[in-house]
């Protein structure tokens, strides 16, 4: 019932967005849709796991958690988008006629993301994830530039091609359940319950195929190639959503399938696969970060680095490791929002993301500058920010699993830290006596950064008991 009401509201929000004309009205309608999504998460949390639409949908603890993160990120991104879109139109970077499709796509993206997280049927999960790819690609291409269209096409082809492999994996899973239980199903809870009866080799193949698509969605190497272009070309609100929410969507897909395989003797093979891709992601991302001059691209590669870290945490597979992987998803999403929203303002000030062109940043854009420097410290896992807790704990778990793996990871994390320090020291020490008109970012763009900074600080020094208990329950429901 709750999901049905949300869906009705989302469709109504789409209809009203189509009817209203001003940026402010469309922004408000979209924002109300975000609040409906947060309300759905809150209500679902209060009633516990519930099935909807003939067991095709299931809102369990993991869904609640991911929908809450999605709602939070969208909330800040949409507020920011209101001010940002006006500036993009003023600068001629966005066609005024594209404003409506922009908000309609943001609404659709939110709706399909929520439906993905709420899907119990993995085929439905797959189709909704594909639809998020569609709308993300559209949002990347919304600006008047051929480079955006190019970035969008790369994103579609790499992600959708990889997703077809995922579909092949789902066909294998269906055949597997049909073979083992006599009745084919793709309902995740039923697959989890019957996992022990599945033949391991077959299940490993199904996992490997499914992994490819969801890995592409979460920017895991070598499927990460379109992301740096997409992140750097898309409007910052969109980059925030793609990097924070879409990454979590892919990771959730991997986690759900991994939870199934974890119940069988094939878990070791799956775990090795995750470690291989995790290390590859760390390797490629951190080395690409080293020579990066474009701030947005640096942050984009950092997403691939964190996907690698989360995969390795997942591969360790202990309840504590999974707990911290989940917490890492929240931490990463919040910090990436700070970073992308800050670079959005910097980009509008200097018309570039290139480090060489950013001059007198503290004088011109003090808040965005602070956001960038504190966000960077946070994304590197420095205390007292939120990511310190999860990164440190994942590394502790890896240390107990394999010391050589820990050293390899530490080496790559050190390279990532060097890359950030290198670029930031250049940006922040770059002062020149040049006259430049200051861009006064509206409060709608600065407030989200300030609030998010406070949030990543508070959650870095205080882990609420309720959140701790909730995540512990999510991990045990996943049967880890």
């Amino acid at each position: 019932m709750a999901l049905g009401i949300y869906l009705g509201y989302a469709i109504a929000a789409l209809a009203v967005t189509q009817l209203v004309r001003s940026n402010k009205s469309m922004n408000l309608v979209t924002l109300s849709h975000v609040l409906a999504c947060i309300a759905l998460a809150a209500y679902s949390q209060s009633i516990g796991p519930a099935h909807y639409f003939d067991k095709n949908f299931l809102i369990d603890g993991l869904s609640v958690y991911e929908i809450s993160i999605t709602g939070t990120i969208f909330f800040f991104a949409i507020i920011y988008a209101g001010g940002h879109a006006e500036r993009l139109i003023d600068l001629g970077l966005m066609d005024k006629r594209n404003l409506k499709p922009y908000y309609l796509s943001l609404n659709c993206l939110l709706m399909f993301t929520v439906l993905s997280f709420a899907s119990n049927n993995l085929a439905l999960f797959w189709i909704f994830v594909e639809l998020t790819t569609f709308f993300t690609a559209f949002l990347i291409a919304i600006l008047n530039s051929k480079k955006n269209v190019d970035a969008s096409l790369k994103y579609i082809f790499v992600t959708s091609t990889a997703m077809l492999f995922s579909f092949t994996g789902l066909i294998l899973l269906f055949a597997l359940s049909e073979n083992a239980t006599g009745k084919g199903t793709l309902n995740w809870d039923e697959l989890l319950a019957n996992a022990a009866t599945f033949p391991p080799v077959f299940l490993t193949a199904a996992f490997a195929f499914t992994f490819i698509g969801f890995a592409a969605k979460s920017g895991v190497a070598p499927f990460h190639t379109p992301l740096p272009h997409a992140y750097s070309k898309a409007p910052s609100a969109v980059s925030t959503i793609v990097s924070a929410v879409m990454l979590n969507l892919g990771m959730t897909g991997i986690l759900r399938i991994y939870a199934i395989i974890k119940q069988t003797s094939a878990a070791t093979d799956a775990s090795n696969l995750l470690i291989a891709f995790g290390v590859l992601s760390l390797f490629i991302a951190t080395l690409s970060m080293l020579h990066q001059r474009n701030v947005k691209k640096l942050i984009a590669f950092s997403s691939t680095e964190h996907s690698g870290l989360m995969l390795i945490g997942m591969a360790v597979g202990t309840p504590i490791a999974i707990f911290w992987v989940l917490y890492h998803m929240l931490a990463h999403a919040l910090i990436k929002a700070v970073l992308f929203l800050s670079t959005g303002i910097i980009q509008r000030q200097y018309n570039s993301n290139n480090a060489g062109k950013i001059i007198n940043i503290f004088k011109m854009q003090p808040l965005a500058g602070t956001g960038l420097i504190l966000g960077s410290a946070a994304i590197l896992g420095m205390p007292p920010f939120i990511l310190f807790l999860s990164k440190f704990s994942i590394l502790t778990q890896v240390a107990a699993y394999s010391v050589p793996l820990l050293f390899v990871m530490l080496l790559f994390l050190l390279i990532a830290a060097a890359a950030f320090t290198n670029l930031l020291s250049e940006i922040f020490s770059h002062t020149e006596n040049v006259k430049m008109e200051k861009y006064n970012a509206p409060r709608r763009m600065t407030m989200p950064i300030a609030i998010l900074l406070v949030l990543i600080f508070i959650l870095g020094i205080y882990l609420p008991n309720d959140l701790y208990a909730f995540l512990t329950k999510v991990v045990s429901d996943l049967k880890f």
């Binding site: 189709i127 569609f134 269209v149 190019d150 096409l153 082809f157 959708s160 091609t161 597997l176 077959f202």
Partner: protein
């Protein structure tokens, strides 16, 4: 109703033909014939579904054949051909990384690898040799499609690669299991949306319209200048 032996031979022949269309797409440059080959490939899939239906008599196979016929033999090729006309590029000469001959060798290599790898994976399903062959050809076709998507530069060719991949997935599902019909419909909806968006964006990327307009404008300006020159001369004479 045809005999089991005949159905098996017919399916095998159709499978081989499907793979040939895949190889054809991997090597061709002519964009219009690429779409026609895709159309032919989809028609062969309809044929396979109908042959399987003649043995199995599952209504699901009949619906799938009808769905494939309408969407992949008629509607999608029509859309792609229309967009192609608008873009106005007859040939895709840009093989991004690998030459057509190398592509063929890679394709053969891929089929052999898939054949070997799936022997171990599919043993639990105890499939008959025909169904095993169908599944292997399905995955091979998917990989061939991927090869096209990543080895070509033009968006339209990439789209044909993506469509071929999806045909491979359909072939694989036909021989592995009977998926619920709604899932087959959903994957088609996805295919439509992705193809439509990619083709619309392709107009922006591949289009020779801009180049054409540039040339046209240049020509026009030259004509104007010529006229102006004549006019001045004429005026000067007055």
């Amino acid at each position: 109703m045809i005999s089991l032996v005949l159905a098996e031979s017919l399916t095998q022949a159709l499978l081989v033909l499907v793979l040939i269309t895949g190889a054809f797409i991997v090597t061709r440059k002519d964009l219009l014939s690429l779409v026609s080959t895709y159309q032919m490939q989809s028609l062969l899939l309809v044929g396979i579904a109908l042959t399987l239906y003649s043995v199995d008599e599952s209504p699901m196979l009949l619906s799938l054949a009808a769905l494939t016929l309408i969407s992949k033999v008629l509607v999608i090729p029509y859309i792609v051909k229309r967009i192609q006309k608008q873009i106005n590029i007859p040939r895709d000469l840009e093989f991004h990384y690998i030459s057509p001959i190398a592509s063929i060798f890679i394709t053969i290599f891929l089929i052999l690898v898939v054949y070997g790898a799936f022997a171990n994976i599919l043993k639990d399903l105890s499939l008959s040799s025909l169904f095993y062959l169908g599944a292997v050809f399905g995955i091979s076709l998917t990989l061939m499609g991927m090869l096209i998507t990543f080895s070509r530069k033009k968006v339209i060719t990439k789209i044909i690669g993506y469509l071929t991949m999806e045909n491979g997935v359909l072939l694989f599902s036909l021989f592995i299991t009977e998926l619920p019909f709604i899932i087959e419909v959903l994957i088609l909806v996805d295919l439509f949306m992705i193809v439509l968006l990619a083709t619309i964006l392709a107009i922006g990327m591949d289009s020779s319209i801009e180049a054409f307009q540039e040339r046209f404008n240049q020509l026009h300006i030259e004509e104007l200048q010529e006229k102006l020159h004549l006019h001045r001369k004429h005026g000067g004479a007055n």
